[in-house]
């Protein structure tokens, strides 16, 4: 009994479903949604990865997440009420379903760029 209460539960990967694209992928314990998505090669929009630019935002439809940072600096009151989360700062608590919006502003990023700019930095080694 005590062992069940205090013992370490085996950490489990959580499943993330992404509407309207129908993507489905696993997030390992300790990983953020964005890290897992990018590791799978999914084109999840992102820029700063420190919970500041809100490019990676999505709306939580089902389930719950642990927010690593205080998103109340960067999201509006309406967004907070609609359960908008930042993929780069969220670890799922169990399986979740989210809605990822694709706006023009977030797709134009590659349209306007010359070859002079160094390539997008890769994820840091853990």
């Amino acid at each position: 009994m005590l062992g069940r209460l205090f013992g370490r539960r085996e950490p489990r990967a959580a499943t993330v479903q992404v509407e309207p694209f129908g993507w489905e992928f696993q997030v390992e314990p300790g990983q953020t949604i964005l890290q897992a998505a990018l590791a799978r090669g999914l084109p999840w929009p992102s820029r700063c990865r420190i919970g500041s630019c809100t490019t990676c935002r999505c709306r939580l439809l089902d389930g719950d997440v642990r927010a690593l940072t205080d998103t109340s600096y960067v999201l509006s009151r309406e967004q907070l009420a609609e359960r908008v989360i930042l993929a780069c700062q969220s670890q799922p608590r169990g399986s979740i379903r989210v809605h990822l919006e694709r706006t023009k502003a977030r797709l134009r990023r590659d349209a306007d760029d010359p070859g002079a700019a160094p390539a997008e930095p890769a994820l840091p080694a853990a």
């Binding site: 700063c48 919970g51 960067v74 009151r77 840091p124």
Partner: protein, 389 residues
């Protein structure tokens, strides 16, 4: 092993500053003389380091950062002892007995002009160690302990609010007109200094007030991190007052304020004249980068600034060199001294680099923004360049 231990180098500078202040008299100038001397000569002689070592022991790297807290605490203690009148904690007697140095005589031989050197040395040390490591730690927004230690380090320069404005303001608005900490084309350093300090403190206050509003909490209360930040600095001032009286308060406040201007000198040259479409992502080209070996060792890779802004969650030991990014003309301390002493000259020195940036790095939107910036710069060479294109 050396790849870890080299980051201890900056602490030698803190000890030089503390020793100089404790030796009193003209020695008070030791810290600032050693730091500028070693860094300017060293960066020129050693040159660039593009290596990107892989580190396995994160705890060692963290310890190197957190070491700043006790070491700067010790520096503050030495400052308070020398500014005060008694024998704080019996330190004078202990030094006399164990090191044979008479702190009382040193204190008696120290006049206001000597103290100017001590204050400038402490200011530079607060910035190079406190602000810089505070910056690294407050980027770890997911780690409460890091935020706590980082904000206390920043409170030495009256800037605990940096933890709000830098991450949620500066990184988001970088190289746009909305960012107070990006120097505009043609802007003189001392003009930027005032605009940046007031702009950042205003932005931090607004960001915090908006956050509390969204959460339904009162703007003026214990939840307000902006106000708590100022209380932290006030607590340090009070500690100096309690241990060293009015002289202690004057010494610390001047050192803290002068240290705050060091951050602005660095802000000035890190993004001088760069432009970006607010809707486009931050790329390595939106910072002036430097791979000067000594600057990076002493400042925990802060000079690898292009990668830092392009990927704000990278730790200091993960920062890559980006040797093709726009590059500063000199190392960090050299740029800093030039910005302070000959700001107009430094601005003109950057003109061909800025024009080169327009040609080689800017995309179509940025070239249009650059044209507007050149026209408004008041620098004839920038205005003429636009007409000639």
């Amino acid at each position: 092993m050396t790849k870890y231990l080299r980051f201890l180098g900056v602490y030698a500078f803190v000890l030089a500053t503390a020793a100089g202040i404790a030796l009193g008299g003209a020695w008070m100038w030791l810290g600032i003389a050693v730091i500028y001397g070693v860094m300017i000569v060293g960066d020129e002689m050693i040159g660039d380091d593009y290596s990107e070592p892989v580190y396995a022991h994160r705890r060692v790297l963290d310890a190197l950062l957190y070491l700043a807290v006790p070491v700067l605490g010790f520096l503050c203690f030495v400052m308070a002892w020398m500014a005060g009148t008694g024998d704080l904690l019996g330190f004078g007697a202990w030094v006399q007995a164990n090191l044979g140095h008479d702190l009382f005589a040193a204190r008696a031989a120290t006049g206001p002009l000597h103290w100017l050197g001590g204050i400038l040395s402490a200011a530079l040390t607060f910035a190079a160690v406190g602000t810089n490591i505070g910056h690294e730690l407050t980027h770890r927004t997911t780690d409460r302990g890091a935020i706590f230690a980082g904000r206390w380090l920043l409170a030495l320069t009256f800037d605990a609010e940096f933890a709000i404005e830098h991450v949620y303001g500066h990184h988001r608005r970088l190289a746009t007109a909305a960012d107070p900490a990006t120097a505009r084309r043609g802007e003189h350093f001392y003009r930027f200094l005032v605009r940046s300090i007031f702009g950042q403190t205003r932005s931090a206050f607004h960001l915090e007030r908006e956050r509390l509003e969204k959460l339904g909490r009162p703007a003026w209360g214990p939840h307000n991190r902006y106000l708590r930040g100022w209380l932290m600095s006030a607590a340090i001032v009070a500690a100096f007052g309690a241990t060293a009286g009015a002289a202690g308060v004057v010494v610390f406040v001047l050192a803290g304020l002068a240290g705050r201007t060091v951050l602005e000198a660095v802000n000035y040259f890190e993004h001088y004249g760069l432009v970006r479409d607010p809707d486009a992502p931050v790329e390595p080209r939106h910072s002036w980068n430097s791979n000067k070996a000594l600057s990076n060792v002493v400042l925990f890779n802060l000079a690898r600034h292009s990668h830092h802004h392009a990927e704000g969650d990278a730790q200091f030991w993960q920062l890559r060199s980006y040797r093709d990014a726009p590059t500063l003309p000199y190392g960090y301390l050299t740029c800093m001294l030039l910005v302070y002493v000959v700001p107009g000259w430094y601005r003109d020195r950057m003109t061909p680099l800025v024009l080169d940036w327009d040609r080689r790095y800017a995309n179509a939107t940025e070239r249009r923004l650059a044209d507007v910036a050149n026209r408004a710069s008041g620098v004839p060479a920038l205005q003429l360049a636009e007409q000639g294109r």
